[in-house]
Amino acid sequence: MRKYRFVFVCAVAALLGFGFAATVQGQRGGGQQGSPLRTAIYDPQQKIYYADANDRTVRALPVRDNVWMIVGAGGNITVQTGDDGVMVVDTGSGGAMTDKVQAILRALSTKPIRYVLNTSYRPDHTSGNEALRGAAAGGGGRGGGRGTPIAAHESVLARMSAPTGRSAPTPVNAWPSETYYKAFHDIYFNGEGIQLIHVPDAITDGDSLVYFRRSDVIAAGDIFLTTTYPVIDLKTGGTINGVIAGLNKLLDLCIVKEKQEGGTMVIPGHGRISDEADVLEYRDMLTIVRDRIQDAIKKGRTLQQIQTAGLTRDYDGRYGATTGPWTTAMFIEAAYQSLTKK
């Protein structure tokens, strides 16, 4: 009888202990303390994870093998999963979206976020850094806190931080902790080589292409978009010729499977999953538009004349806008300024 009593007590103790551990794990594991974890849902027909059954804006689409693209949370987020853990390229616009991104990441892998890469400093790509790294105030995030490295070109750190004594535009826990300044930066993670390839003076002065060499997937950041003209950030060193050089670099890296389709897959900064043919159309468009603006500048046209000359009319229906954060006029101005800069 004593023996049974002893076993019973041990069992109760074990259950209590397990329950406590699970609670702690749950609190560490994500979401606000006390709030239930959001659970992603999976559509097997579309092979898509949705962060929310009611709001299907934030979702993950399969790209290849263990590489996914999360859309709807700002800039596209590339996710690579494996035995080593989860790697994310860019972290979206942060805020309320981060909770939804975390729900999808939990569905894609039970492992923690072990690596964060940034393709540029731009807020729609880095505002979720702190939370996904697991270093946000109040917990949340499945990263290892500040121990989770954020890799990016050194200019990204310069843009997100500030010299001592000045106020930085982003929290310190969001800053890149692993920076590079040469042409490449190599990482080996989840059984494959991953290269960050610097593209100087493109959208900004700190853009990187992220090349998953075994998966044959490239996260292009904002150098390649399928939604708008490139958002050239003049104030941080962006130029139209730099973007075109980046697109040509991207074309050099891509190998098509057959008949100009498939093979290397490209994840744009915004927009749909693409391949070399899609990058090619964008490169051609941008080169043609650049040449037209350059020609108009040579002929002595003013910025206003160029903006009203309809030099982008054949592409405006696809990439242009007359309202919103990035209009065609703003793009032409950015191109003009970067081409006339001495």
Binding site: R59, I244, E261, S274, L280, G317
Partner: protein, 363 residues
């Protein structure tokens, strides 16, 4: 199984006979009646299992050879630069085509592009159509097509699956689903890459969607494509191509190898700057078509536009070929070279046929 069918058939025949003979009364008669009704239903059920529905859809499966009696010069030789006539294009499409330079086709990444789904039936298009069925249920899952030039293959899903997410990849052939409207197969296609509606630079955007109709008339197949493009068209563009049943047709392999023959700097994108394309009036002058019509647009599809073009033309009507000749036409394959003799000028073996006037359309 077949023995069972035969037995059921005999029992059913007997049951029908018995029922019509009214031999159903009395206790024994009632039992016999039940057996016979059971047999009748068994027969009907089994026959239903093995029968084909009386309203079966048209069978499109097989080999189809394309016919070029419509739009022959455009489809085989190729269109002239600057010929946008009869297409419901907008200013954006016109500008893109004005900038188009045929040298773009020698850029390595452009060399192996296949015709997209909407254009592939127009080109050299020997077509194979076959079924994909579920191996267990034998239900139709998809209809497949293979076309000779550049070997594009399509899946036309017939199993009711939804179209992919808007952020999924686009392909040259797009994502197609089909449904039968009586004897006509209706196909809806999305997720296309940017393509072309004419091979002289007139673009079709990746926002376009297609509605296609496959209708078979005995040994002939009509493949109608309706392009809805919010970027480059002002209204839906409808185009049909005809095919003839060609049993025994062999469609060969079509590999494509990129060859770089000339050195160009990285990022070379040949194109014409606005106002600098010297070839834009070539079509108009060669064929004596008023430039207003050559520039295209929805209005140029209408009969009134044709009358206007004809009224403005100065050249004499085409000369009829002499017997035995292949026409006072057919000589040119289009392109800038057609200017000398005109498309169709000169003839191809039209011995005795006087040469057509420069610019003569020798169809």
């Amino acid at each position: 199984m077949f023995l069972f069918i035969e037995v059921s058939f005999l029992q059913a025949k007997q049951a029908v006979f018995s029922l019509t003979s009214c031999q159903i009364w009395g206790r024994t008669g009632m039992q016999s009646f039940k057996r016979k009704v059971l047999a009748l239903f068994s027969f009907l059920a089994v026959m239903g299992l093995f029968s084909t529905p009386a309203f079966a859809q048209m069978d499109l499966v097989g080999e189809w050879a394309n016919l070029f009696h419509e739009d022959q010069p455009e489809r085989l030789g190729g269109p002239d630069v600057g010929d946008y006539a009869g297409l419901p294009i907008n200013d954006a499409a016109r500008m893109a085509a004005d900038a188009w330079n045929a040298d773009i086709l020698s850029v390595p990444e452009h060399q192996c592009k296949p015709h997209p789904a909407d254009y592939s039936p127009r080109g050299p298009a020997m077509v194979q159509i076959w079924k994909e069925v579920d191996p267990l249920s034998r239900q139709l899952v998809a209809l497949r097509t293979h076309i000779s030039w550049q070997a594009p293959e399509r899946w036309i899903w017939m199993d009711g699956r939804p179209h992919p997410d808007e952020f999924a990849a686009h392909t040259w052939q797009g994502f197609s689903t089909g449904e039968w409207l009586g004897q006509v197969l209706k196909v809806t296609t999305t997720h296309l890459k940017r393509g072309w509606i004419r091979r002289n630079g007139l673009p079709r955007s990746d926002k376009a969607e297609l509605t296609e109709y496959f209708s078979r008339h005995g040994e002939f197949l009509t493949w109608t494509v309706i392009i809805n493009d919010p970027v480059y068209l002002t209204e839906p563009m409808i185009r049909s191509s005809d095919f003839r049943w060609a049993p025994g047709q062999q469609v060969g392999n079509y590999p494509c190898l990129i060859v770089t023959e000339l050195d160009h700097p990285q990022g070379w994108v040949p194109h014409w700057l606005p106002g600098e394309n010297p070839n834009l009036e070539l079509f108009s002058k060669t064929h004596d078509v008023i430039q207003e019509a050559a520039r295209g647009g929805a209005a140029t599809m209408l009969p009134e536009a044709r009358k206007k073009v004809a009224a403005a033309q100065k050249w004499p009507p085409p000369t009829q070929p002499a017997a035995g000749g292949r026409g006072g036409g057919g000589g040119g394959a289009g392109g800038p070279g057609a200017a000398a003799g005109g498309r169709g000028g000169g003839g191809r073996g039209g011995a005795g046929a006087p040469p057509a006037a420069p610019g003569g359309r020798g169809q």
